[in-house]
Subunit: 124 residues, 4 copies
């Protein structure tokens, strides 16, 4: 199949809320679709407001698959999670074209709130 | 009227929640507008995280009409619905230009949560 | 100031819910910004699933102003509102470039749900 | 790192709700990521429905950082906040390329509602 999308995407508003008052825990997902015939290796660079970028997180999306990357479950090689309750932003870089959508579910109030947007694609 | 939009669109984050605790049932819609003079035949290819793509779902949008395609009501030729509670993604392909927006209503908590985004358009 | 944006925008997913259980009534807004020096005359063409398009609604956005067009308050020349509880879609056409965002607030459950997306801009 | 994004962005639907019935106060954020090696000076021009534009608000995003600009906390040089309960729109102008996403959290009903969208980028 044709490889749709771009190799570089940005998401300025990411935030992992540590509070969940509902069976559905508060989380974020970077959702990826890969229509190419090549497995996508995905580099995630995290930007913060008051400290240096972190380059120790990564993920993947197999060829002809989707991957809803749960940011709350992601771990780096040292087994560390992404910091909670801190505003951050993400630069997504893939070796093959992908399409990238960001969604957040927040249950810090007992009821659920949802938001989503397509990430910002970089033209090559 | 001029045929606005594109023939190929992608939605990385789709998910049919099987739980509804409100009169409004949890559902997704792929909303399409067709400003062309040709009826749109719409092929929906479903991508999953851990199994092969499915090409057995399709829909339509008549000329000069909208169609809010309810993914929870969609059936393939064998009368089967889209699987529930499974992350998936959708490639939308039309024979004529359309514009495509994705919306989700979730009532798995008793109150309602909504999210929407324009789908990702492929430049021709 | 430079006239930013486009003259033609599309919104596939519009819907006016007639139920409100909160002081904030359920409504939609097509929000427009006009950075040009010309008042924007805005033609709104409504597309439906099962009936002909309607061209009897319009609005405006003055030069160097915003207008959050409340679709629930809009009336045609005969004083009629947009039909409630019916899926529709909107083609937005302006005489001068504008930027167009669509937002929905739903209080059909007592708590509030919100969704928003930039409308789809047509390249000229 | 490569400077991703654009220097000019628009957000037609901004609104600061003065009511909060939850520990999380109702607020808006214009979230920015700056992948360039230059600190971003960000000019925010506010557009209203019935009065002249205001050019007395600004913000920043350091090189290789994100800034989730809280519009409810922003003050001009006279120490004044952005007016509450008034529809407005924002033109964002930066000296270096940035990517810009707009998010709103509303707790005017006790439960939380969220919405987000990428801002509209101006091609140069």
């Amino acid at each position: 199949m044709k490889a749709y999308g771009k190799k570089v995407w940005l998401i300025p508003d990411t935030y992992l809320n540590s509070i969940s008052k509902n069976a559905n825990i508060s989380h974020e997902a970077i959702c990826v679709i890969n229509t190419s015939d090549v497995d996508a290796e995905i580099k995630l660079t995290l930007f913060f407001e008051d400290r240096d970028v972190r380059t120790d997180f990564s993920s993947f999306c197999k060829a002809m698959r989707t991957h809803h990357i749960r940011m709350d479950k992601l771990r780096n090689e040292a087994g560390e999670p992404i910091p909670r309750d801190v505003p951050y932003a993400v630069l997504v870089e893939s070796n093959t074209p992908i399409v990238c959508q960001y969604s957040r579910l927040d249950t810090s109030a007992p009821e659920m709130a949802l938001m989503t947007t397509m990430a910002y694609p970089v033209e090559e």
